[in-house]
């Protein structure tokens, strides 16, 4: 791995506790779920830092991004309230830095069993016998609907009033329409094909 040694401060940011803390604050602001415990956010921040270690480019983007956050915050990003912090993130949302964090977060934060529990998702179910005896149909605030096909009038393929191109008539034998400016009905419309 090559390090951007020309800028010593970049190397100084060698993924310190500070970076981890700033990231957690960023994640809490960008993905605001008051009910989520700290664990999933901490794990996501760790994941981001680990992935940045794997890639020089992400590491550079991350290091510079965190510096930028401080500059835009006029000090420490962590000291901003939610609204001010959100504004800062809106200003940087198009950067590679934020894109990298957003992608990694979306892929990992919501794939965390602690988050599932808060959201009301139960995770793997096959080993528990599925939901056949565990509430796959326990919704009780609406009436039981029909599950069979409708046994009344069959669904027509074509609306009765639709005019068919081949005959110029509707299925119910409606009026003839003028198609004199259209090519023949079965002819395919071909353009020059460039190969």
């Amino acid at each position: 791995m090559t390090f951007p040694a020309k800028y010593p401060q970049l190397n100084e940011m060698e993924l310190t506790d500070d970076a981890h803390d700033v990231l957690i604050r960023l994640l809490r602001v960008a993905f605001p779920h008051p009910d989520f415990p700290d664990g999933p956010y901490e794990r996501t921040a760790t994941r981001i830092l680990n992935e940045a270690r794997e890639s020089t480019w992400f590491r550079v983007a991350l290091t510079q991004g965190i510096l930028t956050l401080g500059q835009l915050a006029g000090g420490d990003f962590r000291n901003l309230d939610d609204d001010a912090a959100t504004s800062v993130l809106r200003r940087i949302e198009a950067t590679a830095f934020f894109g990298f964090i957003r992608r990694t977060t979306v892929l990992n934060l919501y794939d965390d069993p602690e988050v599932w529990e808060v959201l009301g998702y139960e995770g793997p179910s096959f080993d528990k016998g599925g939901y056949i005896n565990r509430g796959f149909n326990d919704l009780d605030w609406l009436p039981e609907p029909r599950i069979e096909l409708y046994d009344g009038e069959p669904l027509p393929d074509i609306a009765p009033n639709a005019v068919l191109a081949s005959t110029g008539k509707s299925p119910t034998g409606g009026q003839q329409t003028d198609t004199s400016n259209q090519p023949g009905s079965q002819e395919t419309v071909m353009r020059k094909v460039s190969k």
């Binding site: 919501y110 056949i132 565990r134 509430g135 029909r146 599950i147 074509i158 191109a165 353009r191």
Partner: protein, 520 residues
């Protein structure tokens, strides 16, 4: 059985809905076949009840590129499709909805007329031609609501969906047709409603060629299935007949299998890619491409999802993902402002996938609200006919190569105005449906990476209009066939798997007959 590489064999490329079905139908008739499957031989017990883990295990992740105005180029530029690379192909992660095409959907050009910018064409076959094979496909797949198969029960997501349908005046809703067992059938158990479909069905209740056609073809003793073998070229002799396929095994070693007949069923990206990569001096534009239509008219269905929030729990993830179908909008009614029709079908994603696909690129409070409402969310999918366009097209991207040094496929796609109008109508109806049962908010999710990939080697009566004839036999090369959804002349509104299977059963009869009578 082991077939010698020098023996001129019937070679099928791909083991999904088309290839797997064709392999079984041919071996059943006593014809030995070699099936070359690019992916590994995963078994039902290998599947994982976790969205990303399963995705990484099953999905076709080889590099691809995208262009055009579709949103995929921004959100998932290297993932235009969401299909499977494994034995059984994409039948191992499909949801299971099995409506038939309608009669007029085989005659799109003469029903809809000339649609500006669309390359519509009538199929060279009719619904009447295909109906007997639809019957056989439904019986093979165990489609509910047909041939005496019991409907699946209503799960929570369906209850919201069906009640909403009823309240806004829809009549044609049901829990199917759906190719997952409601009761034991064909040696496979009833669904345990475990909620995992896109991740592979560990319980074997859902039809796939992995649980039915492949093992039965193996039982005939006439199948030589080679997994982890990716075909990279079809070769031909001096007379222009296909004479072998070249393929790479999982270690990158190149092999040659002699062939008397080749049937390509690699799904609608890889099939044209293979034909294009097989270009030679005799066929400089790729095999079977005298029409210039190979790779063109790529269709992906007009899709979109609506996820609506309620003030009470739904738990949409419990139960069969897509066991809910509304057909009322599947009719052709140009008064809605577009030609063709669409279905509404239940859909559910876990939090991990919902976060990735609900609104790719989104963050902040609005995004968090979608996720926070997870427990109380119901979801559905709009799926309708999209317009074939010549410029929606698979090409070889010679600037980007895969790990074997081969050009990756580029997928170029623009929505047609008809597609946009249909999607908007679908979104509107879906919101109306959910509002009628008390939705407190709704979110419109854009199309996912394409699960239905169609049309890139289309059927046509005349050789100048398409790539294959009514049997899937290429117009240009008598012993080269296409056996997957690539052959669709137009896309229809229905989920495509049933039709791919029906076409493959029909094609198998034709191939068997031609082999017997020396027609190939």
């Amino acid at each position: 059985m082991k077939i010698d590489q020098n023996e001129e064999a019937v070679v099928i490329v791909g083991s999904g809905a088309g290839g797997g079905t064709l392999a079984y139908e041919l071996t059943k008739k006593g014809i030995p076949v070699v099936v070359l499957e690019a992916g590994p031989y995963l078994r039902n017990e290998d599947y994982v009840n976790n969205e990303w883990e399963a995705f990484n295990q099953m999905a076709w992740l080889d590099p691809r590129t995208t262009s055009g105005s579709w949103r995929i180029t921004t959100d998932f530029p290297n993932l235009p499709t969401w299909i499977v690379k494994a034995v059984g192909g994409t039948t191992t992660h499909w949801s299971g909805a099995t409506p038939r095409f309608k009669e007029h959907e085989f005659k799109a050009r003469s029903t809809y007329g000339r649609v500006e910018g669309a390359n519509l064409l009538d199929w060279p076959i009719t619904k009447e031609d295909l109906d007997p094979y639809y019957e056989r496909a439904e019986i093979a797949m165990g489609s509910t609501h047909t041939h005496g198969r019991k409907p699946l029960p209503a799960n929570n997501n369906y209850k919201v969906f069906a009640n909403g349908a009823e309240r806004i005046g829809y009549k044609h809703y049901a829990t199917g047709p759906y190719a997952t067992n409601a009761e034991e059938y064909d040696g496979r158990p009833a669904s345990i409603q475990d909620g995992f479909n896109f991740q592979g069905d560990k319980n074997k209740s859902k039809w796939s060629t992995l649980v039915r056609e492949i093992p039965r073809a193996e039982d005939t003793g006439l199948l030589d299935l080679r997994s982890d073998c990716q075909v990279v070229q079809i070769t031909h002799d001096a007379s222009g007949r296909a004479d072998s396929v070249l393929y790479l095994d999982d270690e990158g070693n190149l092999h040659r299998q002699a062939a008397k007949l080749v049937a390509v069923a690699g799904n609608s990206i890889e099939t044209p890619r293979l034909l294009l990569m097989s270009a030679t001096a005799m066929f400089p534009d790729g095999l079977a491409n005298s029409s210039g239509q190979v790779g063109r008219n790529y269709m992906r269905h007009t899709t979109g999802s609506v996820f609506s929030r309620f003030d009470k729990p739904v738990r949409m993830y419990r139960g069969e993902t897509m066991a809910g179908v509304i057909a009322d909008e599947s009719i052709h009614n140009p008064d809605r402002g577009f030609v063709g029709g669409y279905y509404l079908e239940t859909i559910s994603l876990g939090p991990a996938f919902l976060a990735s696909f609900a609104d790719p690129g989104a963050w902040g409070a609005d995004f968090a609200e979608i996720m926070n409402a997870y427990l109380n969310t119901a979801g559905l999918w709009v799926i309708g006919e999209d317009m074939p366009q010549e410029s929606n097209r698979i090409t070889l991207n010679s600037a980007v190569t895969d790990k074997n040094g081969l050009p990756v496929p580029n997928v170029n796609f623009d929505d047609h105005a008809n597609d946009v109008a249909m999607r908007d109508h679908g979104y509107q109806q879906a919101e109306k449906l959910y509002n009628s049962v008390g939705a407190v908010g709704s979110h419109r999710a854009p199309p996912y990476p394409s699960t239905h990939n169609l049309g890139t080697s289309r059927m046509s009566a005349r050789p100048e209009d398409g790539v294959v004839d009514q049997w899937g036999r290429t117009h240009d090369i008598p012993n080269l066939f296409v056996s997957d959804g690539s052959v669709f002349t137009t896309g229809a509104a229905a989920n495509p798997t049933l039709t791919i299977v029906a076409l493959a059963i029909r094609q198998a009869e034709y191939i068997a007959d031609q082999l017997k009578t020396g027609g190939i």
